[in-house]
Symmetry: C2
Subunit: 465 residues, 2 copies
Amino acid sequence: MFEAAELGRKVSKAEFQRLEPELRTKLLETQRVDTRGITTSAFWDETDEERERPTAWRFWRCMPERGKIGIFFGSWYSEPIVERAFGELSKGEFELHLDRIASLERMLSADGALILKLWFHLSKKEQSKRIDDDRKKEGRNTLDVSPFTKKFAKRFDQFAAISERAIRRTDTGSCAWRVIESTNRRYRDLATGFILLDALRRRLDSVAATPEPPDSQEIQIPDLEAARVTILDRVDLTERIEPEAYSRELKSLQARLNKLSWKAWERKHTCVAVFEGWDAAGKGGAIRRVTRALDARLFRVVQVAAPTDEERAHHYLWRFWRGLPRAGHITLYDRSWYGRVMVERVEGFAREEEWRRSYREINSFEEQLCEHGITLLKFWMHISPEEQLRRFQEREQTPHKAHKITDEDWRNREKWDEYQAAVNEMVAKTSTSEAPWTLVAGDDKRLARVQVVRTFVEAFEKALD
Amino acid sequence: MFEAAELGRKVSKAEFQRLEPELRTKLLETQRVDTRGITTSAFWDETDEERERPTAWRFWRCMPERGKIGIFFGSWYSEPIVERAFGELSKGEFELHLDRIASLERMLSADGALILKLWFHLSKKEQSKRIDDDRKKEGRNTLDVSPFTKKFAKRFDQFAAISERAIRRTDTGSCAWRVIESTNRRYRDLATGFILLDALRRRLDSVAATPEPPDSQEIQIPDLEAARVTILDRVDLTERIEPEAYSRELKSLQARLNKLSWKAWERKHTCVAVFEGWDAAGKGGAIRRVTRALDARLFRVVQVAAPTDEERAHHYLWRFWRGLPRAGHITLYDRSWYGRVMVERVEGFAREEEWRRSYREINSFEEQLCEHGITLLKFWMHISPEEQLRRFQEREQTPHKAHKITDEDWRNREKWDEYQAAVNEMVAKTSTSEAPWTLVAGDDKRLARVQVVRTFVEAFEKALD
C-alpha cells in the first residue's frame, strides 16, 4: 500500500514559492478563522490522570468545539500501533482497538465532525538516511530525528505491516485516510494544505454531513393487551418498610458502604452511578443516603442540567467523558447521558435519528467504562402517577421545598405516557449484563433508599471480592 | 485558641428539626441558585499532572466562576500543615507558604471573591473516643474514621500548634477564619449554615467588596528632557544582519535548540515564553522560527485573544494558570497576561486600581513559576513607528497578509505614546532578575529572529548546565 507513497514526488523551491501564498490565502478564506480557532494536541506519554480512566478519555478532553479545528499529532491510532509493533498487544486485541476506533469515528462523523486522517510516509531507505545524517553531522542541521526515531526504525517492517492493517480497516467512506509521501518537505506541506482545503470546501458546499442510515425502529406489535405490559409494570410499588427496620438497616448498610469505599479507594477501583427517574421520585434523597456513607474526598455528585454553551458545542457525550472520576473515586450523576433518549426525545430537542443512534453510542460508552474495570450502577427511580401527584402537592405547601416544583414539572407530568414509552425502550436497549438497570420501587421512599444503598454495597462486595 | 471550640456546644434533635428547614429556605433564597451552582473539590492526593506544575495550579483549575460557590474540602492550607506536622517542612518554609497563601487570598478577594474559611475542631479526647468506638464496633455505625485518622491523631498536639499558627497568620479582615466546634453534629451543621448565610447576606448588602488600598502610582519627575528617555529608547534599531549570515546562524541555533529541547524533556525541565510587542513587530515570525526547531510533541503555542465568557468569569490570571505546560514541555504565549497592563490599561478595560495591583500579582505568579524551576522568557518585540507604518502598508497590499491588518491596528497606532508609557512601566516593574524582559530590536526581522532563538538557546544551556 505504501508503494504509492515512495514515488519520489518533489516540488521545486520556485514552484513552492508560487503556490504557497495562494494556498495560504485560500485556506484562510475557507476557514474564516485564523490560528486562534486551531488547537494542536500531541498524544504520546500518557499522564496518570489519563491512565486512571478509559483510553478514550484523553482524546475526549481535547476534542475541538464545533467550528474549530483540532490538530491531533498522534491519535487514537498511535498507541495500538506501537504496542502491537512491540508485541504488547495480541492480534485479537489490536483488532478490537480498530473496531472501537471505527465506532468512535463514525459517532463523531454522524455528529457533524469532518475527520481528516493523514499518514505521512517515509521509505525505509529515506529514514535510515536521515538517521545517518544526524549521526554524521552530530545533530547539526537535522531536526527530524527524535530520541524515538532509532528505536522505531529498527522495527520498520513491523510498523509498516501493522499500520497498513490499521489504515485498511478504518478507511471508511466518511473517514478516509490520505497517505502523503513525505520525503520532500515542500511536496508534503503543499499536499497537506491542498487536501485540507479541498476537504473543507467540499464539506462547506454540501451543507450538512452525509446522513447516516437511521438505526432501525422497534417493530410495532399489534395492539394486544399483553403487548402493553412493560418493564416498568413489573415493579411492585405496594411494598413498604417499617420506620424502625428502615433506620436500623440503612445505618448498617451505610457503615458497610463506608468501609467498602475506602477499600475500593485503596485498590483504585472506580464507581460511576447514574440516577434517573420520574420528577419527585426521590433521586436527591437516595443520593444523599449514599453520600452520607462516603468520605467527601472520595465522591462527587454531578447535577446534570441543560448543557452550557461549551457543552452544546461538542458531541453530547463529551461532558460525561470529561467528568469521569479518577481511579478509586465515585461519581454520582443526578440525571445523566440518558437525557438524550428521554427528555431530548420527548421534547424534540434531538432529532429522531440522533436519539435512535444514541442507544448504540451509550452502550459503547458504557462498555468502555466496564472494560476499564469501573463499576457502573444505573438506577431508575420509579413511582406511580398517583404518588407523584401527592408529592407535587406536598412540595407546593412546604416552604423549603417549594423551589423544587415548577411549571415544567406539571408539564412533564402531562406527558407521562410518552416518557413511559421512552423509559421502557431505554431500559430494554441499554440494560446489559455488565451494566444492568436497577428499577427502584419508589412509592415508599424509605424502601427505595434501602434498595439503592444495598445495591451499592452488593456491587462493591462483588467487585472487591 | 481552640479552647473556645471545646465548650461542649450542643443542639437538641427537636431544636435542629425546627431550625434546619428555615435555614435551608433562607440559604436557597440568598444564594438564588441550587446545588447546580456549587462544585465541591477535595484536595489531598496530588496527581502527577499537578505535581508537574507550581503548587497553586491545582487550586486554580478548580476555582469557581463569578456567581458560583466552590466548596474546597482541604485547601491550600492542608499540605503545608500536614508536611510541617510530619517534619517535612522547616519553620521558615512553612512561613513562606503562609505568606503565599495570604497573597493568593488577598488577590482573589480584591477580585471580588468572598472567601469563607471554616476550621472544624474536635478535641483530642473526642477524637480518641471516635477511634476507639470504631475499633470496638468493628466499623459498624461509625462513619467519621478514615484510614488517615489514626495516623494523624498520633500527632494531635503538633497539628494543633501548627494549625493555630496558620490560622493566626492568615486571619485577615477580608479573609477571616471561623473555628467551629464539631463534637455535636447538629451544632456543627447549623453553625456552618448560619455562618454561610450571614456572610452571603452581608456581601450582597454591601454591593461591592471593600476596596483595597490602591497601589502607589509612579512619582512623576518634572518634565526634563532626560526624564523622557525611556527603556525602549535604549534599543538600537539600526543594526542589520546579512541574509547569508542570518540563514547560517539561524540554522545552527535551531539545531542546537532542537537537541536542548529533547534534553530538557528528558530532565523534565519546563519553559514558558511570552511574546509581546507592537502590532506588526514580528511576533508570529519569531515564534515560528522557534517552533521550527521543536518537535510538535514538546511545545504548544497559545494565542491570547479577548477572553471567552468562561475566562471573563474568573480572575484574569486564571486562564494562564490553566494553560501551564506539563514538566518538560514548552509553552509559547503569543500575547499574554501582560495584556492587563497594556491593552486593558490603555483601552480602559481594567480600572486603574485593577491594573495597578496586577504588577504585584504578575510578579507573584512569575515568582511561583521560577521557584518551580520553570525557565521563563519574556520578549518585547520592538520596532520604530516608521517601520510599523511600512509593514502595515505592505500587509494591505499582499493578499495572504491582508487579513492580518485591521482597523483596530490603525487605531492602536494612534495611541503609540500611551502604549509606550505602558510598556515602559511594565518593563520597569516586572523585569526581575529571575525573569528579565528581553527587548528585541525588530526593525530588521532577521536580526530579531536570531536574537529570539539565541535567547532560547542560552537560557536552556544555562538551565541544563
